[in-house]
């Protein structure tokens, strides 16, 4: 139903304003900010404690990961700073805890809090890069598929269908396996991060392509696109200038959820030993390394990075969840 929310007509009551005045009011950063703070998205954000907290946690983690070398109490990869005598110290709140090591130390005497900071940097890096890579493939293919239709669409979507019948994690496994077969061992370790980004990214493009294709098919039949065609605007320009900005909303939601998923996938691959090498460990690698000590009662080496991973992914997922509801007002 249409609610007569005071809208268009009321806003125009001051429409005797001249163009110059209006133009001055409506330009620059100030206007962008004004429109942002006036938007429904900001309103919904302000009124959702869950969104505020999860966004704050996400930003906090991202910042501490980026500035890990300043924030971390020690550099766990600097052999001069670690001492084997400090090994396997439990977190501070346990009886044998040491105030120097907030979350305890691992088998080599490294501060777990520091390794987590450095590890989340690798996890986030792989996550973001994979998302960008998947978007770079998925969005153009989706636009083309949706706009041109016909055989182009059929081919792209059949490939997507076949790929979709396999879980992302399996595809990532296969790609990593193939890479191991093709590349010599040393090169593979060096390239591990790139292989990982490629594997996770490739396994994720279908979501973007499908969503963008769906919205493109809706948008291309809208009359503003037809108006542009009647003017004579060329197809490429229409795709980039008219359609692309209007299909990005859902992409944002997918990208957020995909980021969480990419981080999970990276952690899973690293845990299974096919991901990031131990020389620059991600959270998943840390969990893998600590897993061997789980049964001997030294649980914190594996659980602490695990908890960090859960907090990170949960915060991102909560932001994504809120974003989806906020951008889709029907759900409210």
């Amino acid at each position: 139903m249409t609610l007569g929310v005071p809208g268009p007509t009321d806003m125009n009551s001051k429409s005797n304003q001249t163009y110059e005045v209006a133009a001055k009011e409506r330009t620059g950063l100030a206007d962008v900010l004004r429109r942002f703070f006036d938007s429904d998205l900001w309103f919904s954000f302000r009124h959702s404690p869950v969104a505020i907290i999860s966004m704050a946690v996400s930003i906090l983690i991202v910042f501490s990961a980026i500035f890990a070398h300043w924030i971390a109490p020690t550099n766990p990869f600097d052999l001069a700073q670690i001492d084997l005598l400090d090994s396997e110290i439990p977190p501070v709140w346990l009886p044998d805890g040491d105030s120097r090591f907030l979350l305890g130390t691992d088998d080599q005497g490294r501060d777990i809090f520091s390794t987590i900071l450095y590890g989340s940097r690798v996890s986030l890096l792989v996550g973001f890069a994979s998302v960008v890579f998947a978007m770079a493939i998925g969005i153009p293919l989706g636009l083309i598929s949706g706009y041109y239709g016909g055989y182009v669409d059929a081919v792209i979507m059949r490939i997507a269908d076949v790929q979709l019948s396999f879980p992302a994690i399996l595809i990532a496994f296969l790609i990593d396996g193939v890479a191991r077969g093709v590349l010599p061992r040393a090169v593979h370790d060096e390239m591990a991060l790139y292989v990982l980004v490629f594997a996770i990214g490739i396994s994720g493009w279908v979501q973007y392509a499908r969503t963008v294709r769906g919205s493109t098919m809706v948008e291309k039949n809208k009359e503003y696109v037809q108006a542009a065609r009647v003017i004579g605007i060329r197809r490429g320009t229409i795709l980039v200038r008219h359609i692309l900005p209007n299909v990005l909303g859902p992409v944002l939601v997918i990208a957020t959820i995909h980021l969480a998923l990419a981080i999970i996938t990276e952690a899973t691959l690293s845990f299974l030993g096919v991901g990031v090498p131990v020389t620059s460990p991600s959270l998943g690698t840390l969990i893998r390394v600590g897993y061997d000590f789980l049964f001997s009662g030294v649980w914190w080496i594996t659980i602490m990075p695990g908890v960090a991973l859960i907090i990170l992914v949960l915060a991102i997922n909560m932001v994504g969840d809120w974003l989806r509801d906020a951008l889709n007002p029907k759900l409210r």
Partner: protein, 327 residues
């Protein structure tokens, strides 16, 4: 109806051929098969002989056709690492994976669907909100971490459940089962819960979203305006209409359970196909990887095929599309 099934069947064949092609290409072009089969001291001449004998000098499509024909008969060559026929390895490991996946799938469906319906119908209830928050946590914990946490709690701290292997199994000749012994059943608990949890939350969230979507439609509003009983609106009108998309995605999710078994099997040292596969990836054992890909592909195509037929049963619009009646 028959032509519909025939069409879907043809599509499935095409997908299988594509999967086979990828598997074959991996097998053929990743590393040199000969190098992986023979020792360092084999002469170039011997290598060439082996090459000829294995048909590696034939044209590509001949090799592919041979590969496909062999695959249909379950023949995937020798494992480089185990030095045994891949088919033997697969048959040996398959029961473990299928039993684990079956229990996982049943758990995910039996809990996931009702929970989704419940949270959709009681949108603002306290329990619904609890379940929804829990489900967000569920999709945020990677499967392997769920396994580790369960192991820590039930295996290390409380020591009530076994944390690795299948326990005692009964050999039925063509199948080994853990269903028939107490230790086999106990061993199943942690892995199957681990496997089910992630899928369960996904299925639940999906069912909820689809239900909410249907509950907003005009025909539900019209049914309410006719005074139809609430129970009937919820279950016979709304639930049935939300089933169509739910069936598709649930089908895919159930398929991916078998793939996620890779992770669960590694965490719990469960002697299934997944564990076999992860070893193959680490050891670059290409024939095993290729065979695993084909088997998983087959499972997925089979599930998709069933899903399409279910669609057909549920939605009269598809059925009548062919009859072409109306107006």
């Amino acid at each position: 109806m028959i032509s519909f099934i025939a069409g879907r069947f043809a599509q499935s064949i095409v997908v299988m051929l594509t999967v086979g092609l990828i598997a074959f290409a991996m097998f053929r072009f990743v590393g040199d098969p000969i190098n992986n089969m023979v020792g360092q001291d084999t002469t170039a001449e011997q290598r060439e002989q082996l090459r000829e004998r294995l048909g590696l000098n034939d044209p590509f499509y001949v090799q592919y056709a041979r590969f496909a024909l062999n695959a249909v008969q379950g023949e995937f060559g020798q494992s480089y690492f185990h030095r045994r026929p891949v088919s033997e390895l697969l048959v040996e490991r398959m029961p473990a994976t299928l039993e684990l996946s079956l229990i996982g799938a049943v758990l995910a469906l039996v809990v996931g669907v009702p929970a989704g319906v419940y949270t959709a119908l009681n949108r603002n209830g306290i329990l619904s909100n609890l379940i929804m928050s829990g489900s967000l946590l569920g999709v945020s914990i990677p499967t392997f971490l769920i396994g580790i946490i369960l192991i820590l709690v039930f295996g290390v701290v409380w020591r009530v459940l076994p944390t690795f292997g299948r326990g005692d199994v009964v050999d039925l000749g063509w199948w080994t089962t853990g269903f028939l012994t107490a230790s086999g059943l106990k061993s199943l608990i942690l892995p199957s819960v681990t496997l089910a949890l992630f899928q369960l939350t996904l299925i639940m969230r999906l069912v909820r979203a689809e239900m909410l979507e249907v509950l907003r439609t005009d025909f539900i509003k019209f049914a309410k305006a006719r005074g139809i009983l609430t129970r009937s609106i919820h279950f016979s009108h709304a639930l049935k209409n939300s089933l169509v998309p739910v069936i598709t995605i649930t089908g895919l999710q159930l398929g991916s359970i078998i793939a996620f078994a890779i992770i669960t099997e590694t965490v719990f040292q469960w002697p299934g196909m997944g564990l076999l596969f992860i070893q193959a990836v680490l050891e670059v054992d290409i024939p095993v990887m290729a065979a695993y890909l084909v088997v998983i592909g087959f499972v997925f195509v089979f599930i998709n095929f069933i899903v399409d037929i279910l669609y057909f049963v549920v939605d009269p619009r598809l059925r009548a599309d062919r009859a072409g009646s109306g107006h």
